[in-house]
């Protein structure tokens, strides 16, 4: 588990900076991880040329600060890996044998199998394969070839994707290094980090070649590849995966709403909302204007007519998901997107608490203490004549609640123009909505505001929020939360982000060339 550190800072603190000079690279230990479920499916798809959804049924990945991490392989998952290798190898041979092997499968022989192994094994292991490894795979081919050529190839594929060299993000420290040394990752490990960060999948041939040429150990070469990869269509997969985890969009699967209050809600809405939110974030990262302001204060949305009806947006008439300009008096920024507002709501009412907490933890990167252990925590039911704000009045009248809730509720009440499906409303239980709010105890985003439009604009000006966007992407890219030993990298990233006028694509490049991304700390106990 990660030691507490740079990832956790309290509400009143300035975001912590490094406590040493950053002349020499520093980086937190990166624990061994396996492919996440999403990475597994995309990787086998790329490797075998077949579409896979098999990993959706695997035991879930660990949830670390909202990000999926392949932290450990349980006996259940180990068995699921073996079952999946069997199923996928059979499918690959049945559906795509000719696409896999460098010969006519009808006349396939051992020479063809050897040639196949020579190219397949390095792709499966994401690094050159040793002679021993290739010999082992050839032995598997021979076991299967006792039946026929296709079965031989099936055995090779099954073996390769059952091996830890395929299943894990292996980042071995170099020969002769000592525990605690900070050393450069080898080029192939960097290539994998880069492609799983930007594409959520394995490297392509060009990236393998760059790794083989030693180009990725130089920041310039790494940057060149990062920029090339960000131009690719595959980069959308990476950023969508980030958005899904950062914003908690998996909660939309199977989400239910009170049918009496939200009659237009049906079982399809969760998925529509997820697509809508992903479209919004994808445009912010890859659209015409990639300044961070687009993410935080954009006035566009992606909606289809059914979703538009359910959330009360007019003028969406074409079938299918489409980009629409939203009313800038009602919808400004990420925080006004119906999907996020719905995730941050209860089935029958808005949820100012979780909306406020979201801003604190996901946009300001501040941790909050938990409620007192012995307190009855009850979300008051909607009551005729009482506004949401009135129903939560105890939070400010009870001294034990007030300390924390002052950090949460005054932000959350600013969202009161949106109901539990993100529809705009002017009244709540018959009374005019009061969406006035205030941010307290941030580093540089304090002050009163009215409604989400003003809040979003206020947050978009904040260096703390901009840095937090970088921290969230860092957690996604690294599969772990930053600690004190990463703070030089966090600072490098933020300096570069600022220097590039807060361009989100430059932020991604900045993470890729940061020390935390390029170096590792040699763990204790390795036998080299």
């Amino acid at each position: 588990m990660l030691p507490p550190g740079g990832g956790a800072f309290g509400p009143t603190d300035r975001p912590p900076g490094p406590d040493t000079t950053c002349d020499a690279p520093q980086v937190e230990n990166a624990p061994l991880t396996h492919l996440t479920r999403a990475e597994y499916d995309r990787t086998v798809g790329e490797l075998l040329g077949i579409e896979s959804r098999v990993a959706a049924g695997f035991a879930p990945d660990e949830d670390t600060d909202g990000y999926e991490v392949g932290a450990r392989v349980s006996p259940l998952l180990a068995e699921q890996y073996v079952d999946a290798s069997e199923e996928l190898a059979q499918r690959a041979v049945a559906e795509n044998l000719a696409g896999l092997v460098p010969c006519d499968p009808a006349s396939g022989d051992e020479a063809c199998a050897v040639a196949f192994i020579d190219t397949f094994a390095p792709r499966a292991f994401r690094r050159p394969a040793t002679q021993e490894e290739r010999d082992g795979l050839l032995a598997l081919y021979r076991v299967g070839a006792a039946y026929d050529f296709a079965t031989g190839i099936e055995a090779v594929v099954m073996g390769a994707i059952s091996a830890p060299s395929f299943l894990y993000h292996l980042e071995l420290s170099p020969e002769g290094s000592r525990s605690g040394d900070v050393v450069e990752l080898d080029d192939y490990a960097v290539a994998s980090r880069l492609s799983y960060f930007l594409w959520g999948s394995m490297p392509d041939d060009e990236l393998f070649i760059a790794a083989g040429n030693g180009e990725l150990s130089e920041p310039e070469g790494l940057e060149t590849q990062a920029r090339r990869m960000l131009e690719s269509d595959r980069a959308a997969d990476g950023i969508r995966s980030f958005a899904r985890q950062w914003l908690g969009l998996d909660h939309l699967a199977g989400m239910q709403r009170d049918p009496e209050r939200y009659p237009a809600w049906d079982a399809t809405m969760g998925d529509r909302m997820r697509q809508s939110m992903l479209g919004y974030v994808e445009e912010a990262f890859f659209g015409p204007d990639t300044h961070v302001d687009t993410l935080l204060t954009g006035t566009y949305g992606y909606l289809d007519p059914e979703l538009a009806t359910a959330v009360g947006v007019e003028g969406v008439t074409e079938p299918g998901m489409q980009r629409v300009e939203l009313d800038p008096t009602q919808r400004v920024g990420l925080l006004a997107q119906p999907a996020l507002l719905t995730v941050l709501a209860k089935p029958n009412q808005s949820d100012p608490i979780h909306r406020g907490v979201f801003v604190r933890t996901r946009l300001l990167c501040q941790n909050l203490p938990p409620p007192p252990d012995d307190i009855a925590v009850v979300a008051p039911d909607p009551a005729p004549g009482l506004s949401t704000r009135e129903r939560f009045a105890e939070h400010s009248s009870n001294a034990r609640c007030q300390g924390c809730h002052q950090l949460i509720d005054p932000i959350g009440f600013g969202f009161e123009h949106y109901d539990a499906v993100g529809r705009w409303r002017d009244t709540d239980e018959g009374a005019d909505v009061d969406a006035s709010g205030e941010v307290f105890q941030s580093y540089d985003a304090d002050g009163p505001f009215y409604g989400v439009a003003e809040l979003s604009t206020q947050l978009a000006q904040s260096e703390q929020v901009r840095e937090c966007v970088g921290r969230q992407l860092f957690r996604f890219a690294m599969g772990r939360t930053e600690t004190n030993r990463d703070l030089c990298a966090v600072q490098q990233i933020q300096d570069r982000f600022r220097g590039a006028d807060y361009d989100l694509r430059e932020l991604m490049v900045a993470i890729a060339v940061s020390d935390s991304f390029r170096y590792l700390t040699v763990p204790s106990g390795a036998n080299r």
């Binding site: 450990r72 349980s74 079965t151 830890p164 012995d374 009850v378």
Partner: protein, 445 residues
């Protein structure tokens, strides 16, 4: 549309359609039925969990140790009263120490009896303190080390609707400190894993067995080459994966000791797993699977986790759509909410009674499978709206072949639940305390 609705649904059959091959199977249990007549029957342990606390006033019986009267929630157990034991006043005192909020500690300590590890940042919670996994092994895994080696599966973890995240709220079984075991929530996948598909073409089965065996050999070689090059912590992770692969290899050769009542259960389609309306059907499937896994001696240790801590299941068939955890937070004065909490816990008690009845329907020697099993039903909290971990609603059943005498209602005052965990150890012949030694006072029964 969501890829999560039907993860790998009927994947083997779907594959058959794709290639038009003959029946494909896991060949391991070909000899499942009708082999040796068994004369002695193993003891088994089954842990059952439901979340978010109960309503104590309607849970705990009235009356004395043997002349107790069930109140509303446990009334479904009346026909089984001689085979169950209710414990009042047994508290998760261990949760007075260590990091974590009420639900986190309640869940992580429930079967481990030790505190949570301090951590970095556990997801799944907006405002939780830095906390990690439990610092200990859970009681079922301790028992499995002792009795689990003679069956193909050392233990089997099943669940119902435990979400799509792995965090301290969704895991209760721990193989080792910091190593939670995930439950299998999909009855179809659980069926495949436990029973495979028996009507296979033997030639095809032989081919699959050969490929599997060779592939596992090959993978093991890769593990062994890599392991020494890793740091000690990473090596531990990789070695734990390798152990699982070895166990899988052993299972290829291992034939279970089959009881006469062993039959392959039929698992119907319970519907989409992320829809609450599927809950009764999924619970029934899991009940069928665990019953036959025991009867066929595929395993001797199992757990069924009916939803996770802070679970937000809804119960539309009870006539309301409120989310469980939200409801559990309503105040004592909200009579409508209290009634719903009672109904939900009653529902779970009905499921528990059905499970016991099914286990009890399988004769083993002079008794039944239930008699040879110790079933323990727990909850991470005593009561939802206060988050108390005192007066956990414990029900024991079966008694592990007479090791614990049933038909009783026992009241304690602030007794540590480590003493219950210790009693479980003793029931299986492990003469050791269990849990944090600061909270141990000897077996509770």
């Amino acid at each position: 549309m969501s890829s999560l609705d039907h993860p790998r649904r009927w994947r083997r059959r779907a594959f058959l359609g794709a290639v038009g091959a003959g029946a494909i199977t896991l060949p391991f249990w070909r000899s499942l039925k009708g082999e040796a007549q068994v004369t002695s029957f193993p003891k088994r342990l089954l842990l059952v969990f439901s979340p978010n606390g109960t309503w104590p006033d309607e849970f705990f019986p009235s009356g004395g140790e043997r002349d107790f009267t069930f109140r509303r929630i446990l009334a479904p157990l009346e026909p089984l009263r001689n085979k169950v034991m209710i414990l009042d006043g047994v508290d998760q005192r261990i949760t007075s120490v260590g990091p974590g909020d009420g639900h986190q500690k309640g869940m992580g300590c429930l079967w481990t009896g030790v505190e949570l590890l301090p951590g970095g940042t556990m997801g799944g919670c907006d405002s939780c303190p830095p906390v990690s996994w439990s610092s200990g092994m859970s009681i079922d895994q301790r028992v499995a080390l002792h009795i689990g080696n003679e069956s193909p599966f050392r233990s089997v973890e099943l669940g119902v609707d435990n979400g799509n995240n792995e965090n301290v709220w969704t895991r209760m079984i721990y193989r080792a400190p910091g190593e939670p075991l995930p439950p299998e929530d999909d009855p179809r996948q659980a069926f495949d894993r436990l029973f495979g598909n028996l009507d296979s073409d033997p030639r095809d089965a032989e081919r699959r067995r050969l490929l599997r065996q060779s592939v596992l050999d090959y993978a093991r070689g890769d593990f062994e080459r890599l392991s020494p090059r890793l740091g000690s912590e990473d090596r531990r992770r990789l070695d734990s994966h390798l152990t699982a692969v070895r166990e899988l290899e052993m299972r290829l050769q291992n034939t279970p000791n089959v009881g006469a009542a062993c039959e392959i259960p039929t698992v119907g389609d319970p519907g989409p797993l992320n829809q609450d309306a599927s809950n009764p059907a999924v619970i029934q499937s899991m009940t069928d699977l665990v019953t036959m896994a025991f009867a066929c001696d595929l395993t001797r240790v199992a757990s069924i986790q009916w939803n996770n801590s802070v679970g937000q299941s809804t119960f539309p068939w009870l006539g309301f759509n409120d989310r469980h955890h939200d409801l559990s937070h309503e105040g004592d004065s909200n009579g409508a909410a209290v009634e719903k909490i009672i109904r939900i816990n009653e529902y779970y008690a009905e499921r528990f009674a059905a499970l016991l009845t099914q286990l009890d329907a399988i004769p083993e020697g002079d008794g039944t499978l239930l008699d040879n099993t110790l079933v323990v039903w727990g909850n991470e909290l005593g009561k939802g709206n206060s988050h108390t971990r005192n007066r956990i609603p414990w029900v024991l059943a079966g008694g592990a072949g007479g090791a614990i005498e049933m038909g009783r209602y026992l009241s304690f005052s602030n007794r540590s639940h480590c003493d219950l965990l210790t009693a479980i150890n003793h029931a299986f012949g492990i003469e050791e305390g269990f849990g944090d030694s600061r909270f141990q006072g000897g077996p509770i029964v």
